[in-house]
Amino acid sequence: MADQSAVSAGKARVGSQNIIQIADLKKIYQLGKTSVEALRGVNFSVAEGEFTVVLGPSGSGKTTLLNIIGCLDRATSGQYLLDGEDVSNRDFNDLAEVRNFKIGFIFQNFNLIPVLNVIENIEFPCLVRDKREERAKLRERVRAVCAEVGLERFMTHKPDELSGGQRQRVAIARALITEPRLVLADEPTANLDSKTSDQILELMQRLNREHSTTFLFATHDPRVMELARRTVRIKDGLVVPD
């Protein structure tokens, strides 16, 4: 287990507080009798409000790292502090709560729930909480987020009635409605044409600027890399120094 000094080794670059602090993070997959080390002791931190890109070739451990940061997977060893809290050894429902309150996800394939319309998709993460927000108030916030991402005219549309760009806007709105500490975007522009990609990236950049929301991307898109204020490169399960 990494000690606190190792955790503190990550540098805060924008805000005073680190949203992500990772120390000596390892992930080993057992494939039959073979062990595959996907992460071999990653040390890494992201400060509040950063717009960071994680880069790396296929098989570098990039997705594994993002999954652990997103509390979707657990590290084999090492320490991970999210917003100052150690989430390395939480159980499923605890992690679900962490994801719900602190992390917003934007997926490559949008991952909207097909039976829900735009409003319902966006408000979904807030409705599955134990303590629910007042419905009228929530709807008001959903409308505001919709306006912010340019979906006012599509609020009652189902996902299959929307274009790829519009779907990704819904996904962004859904990620933002919970006012998360961190937004994780896994190849958010991979399924979009270049014009739509530019619009989506511009939108995310604006949201990062205006709301100081921390964005962490995994991408191969050079346009995203151009916009990123920080790039973290991963190779063979380790963070390559800048």
Binding site: D73, A96, N100, N111, V128
Partner: protein
Amino acid sequence: MSPLVLMSFRNLSRNRRRTLLALGAVVVGLCALTMIRGFVNSVRQAQLGATVYGTTGMMQIHRTGYLKNVLSNPLDLAFADTAELREKILSVKHVKALSPRLQFSGSLSAAEPVVAGAEAQTNSEPKTTFIAANAVDPELDRIVLPQFYTWLTAGKVFDTADAPSMVVHGDIAGPLGVGNVELNMSQPKELWPVLLTPDKDGSLAGEAIQVTGVIGSAVPTDKRLALAPLRTVQRILKMDGQITEYVLTLDDVARASDVQSDLVKILGPDFEVSRWDEIVPFIQELLSNIDFIFDIITSVFLLVIMLGIVNSMFMNVLERVREIGTMMALGIRRGYILALFVLEGAFIGSLGAFIGLGIGIGIVAIASKIGIPINAPGSTLKFMLHPFLTVSFLLRAFLLTSMGAALVSLWPAWRASRMKPVEALSAV
């Protein structure tokens, strides 16, 4: 509306064909079960009705030991039919009416010669047949055993307890040459058949008696059955005021056990009080067997229905693995996923049960209106069955199907809820 309920409901329309197939299985199964139940209910009711309103009554009172000795010397255990005793019995709660009866056996011999020229009665050979008869007061007996009197296939039942006439079973009437009731009634007394019966002392007593009616039976019964006027038989047997039993009808057959205990207390040890199911236990066994068979059929149907739902739910889970992963990423708990799929299963079960029961009720209502004629084994008359359903059956069927569907959906739902988010999200 809760997003859980909303999603479960909307998910039903995602793969319409599959939902319709699962729903169809529930609808067809429930509809079939409802029709079978309606039919079984009518068979039970007809059988029970024929027994308690046509054969045994709901309850019988005899002198102690009578039922054990009924085949040897039933007359030895006769007792006085007094107004006081009747009053005592009728004072018991739920006893609606009683009919005094005198059971006796004997023979009926056609007079010689039988009228020549009549088609059905051309044989001039004297004929004798044995009978197992009940002597009754028709006025009282009609109240206690009303269905028995609907089984009359020809002629009429004597009007008074001292009439010189009797009613015999069709199986006796034909061979004995008294099947043509109209002809019987026009015959002079000298040509009436003779009723011979041994009295308490074993001496044969006899009297000419007119056969005014022929009876059939809608239940397996003794083909030697005959019905005679009570006072006429009492006179022949020199047993004035004596009877062998009271047959009782109650305002509710389900109260039979309570009434039995009350009567036992009131009448004391000299009398035995028997419920209909103690007198003819095989009928109760038959009804229980019908219920048992129906329960087996129900179980098989429900099993098939539930397997259909489980299969459909597993397909739903497999089709939505990535969606499950997405929901997990958004922070829902395992219980939520579980509830989502269980609710979907419950929706299919409830909706299917609702439609299936609705169609079933409609078909049963039509069948009830038209009636289903059926011949019971051993009976000489046709039953007309009128299928019907009870609210408790409908409620039980609905609850069992919807709750059963929810319960079996737990299996696929559990599998869905135990998925790892990272694996579910990477599913193709």
